[in-house]
Point group: C2
Chain length 164, copies 2
Amino acid sequence: MTRAEAADMPDDGEFRTPERLRRRASRLLSQVAAQTDRLITDGLARADARKWHYAALASLEEHGPASQATLSRRTGVYRSDMVGVLNELSERGLVERALDPGDRRRNVITITTQGRRHLHRLDKVLDDLHEELLAPLRPAERDQFVRLLTRLLDHHTQQAPPPP
Amino acid sequence: MTRAEAADMPDDGEFRTPERLRRRASRLLSQVAAQTDRLITDGLARADARKWHYAALASLEEHGPASQATLSRRTGVYRSDMVGVLNELSERGLVERALDPGDRRRNVITITTQGRRHLHRLDKVLDDLHEELLAPLRPAERDQFVRLLTRLLDHHTQQAPPPP
DNA sequence: TGACTAACGTTCATGTCACTAACGTTCGTT
DNA sequence: AACGAACGTTAGTGACATGAACGTTAGTCA
């Protein structure tokens, strides 16, 4: 039996999530986010990439070459993890790591032509994945959804940027 | 220099997240969910509880005594993890674990009076936390938000219930 | 100038989460 | 009587978010 067609037996709830939980915005958020994460992670994996790779490449194309620390701050990827991400990207020729002649502590990371091409391919992949993600919502609702999320994020982010 | 007072230099974005990322529903979701998770986890910790504890107790009160496997299905807490959750809850006298006389594979978990009291306390704590979470939204918007999330979740959940 | 502080890249370690694998026990069905 | 499946349990995996510490380098100030 599949729980869905349980029209005959009263289904006292072998699979029924308590209303208390079902209604909570926090739980809805975490569930939807988890589903989304799997969708995106799998989709990117099929395109031979990962979220962090995309984030780094996107940052490099939008704002130009940067140090690893800056990339880390811009993408939210932790600086410890950025190391590995850039290792992989540079191994594959998507970015180049060079010593900053003006500051020998820094590496200057630059996106390559190949990296740009990869990024644009990933942009399309993500467009498709988001189409799938937001399929049940009409365009106006999608906008609303994004707006609400943005407001929530802004509200809960504003009081904790790195201190001066 | 501190980025905040960069009114003079054009702030080419030492901390600026790429638009590509900022706009994506997937990223917004994951960020907001992460913030939310911390809010809830911390809040519950202050009340000496954890999400899974709440989920188990809520399920027990709403649907009555159940086996661990059933609890796991109802709450989404993985059955491997349910073991530890119930250990902790029963150590604290919030639930009781008894062998099911009718099926010696099963444990029957029952919520205690103390557990009920704890649960009701947590309900209040969660109400407050959600008030904080959704603070920037007006009541109608909160409803909208929950509705949109629910539709997304339903859509992405319906095609993968446990197989017959 | 020399000493101190802070940022950088890096490695290693920690904790949580979702999930898989495997095990022995028990049940239901054939 | 035998087999497959469900149960509770333990142990382990991989992704993710962090923290600690280290050597190197820059910038600041006494």
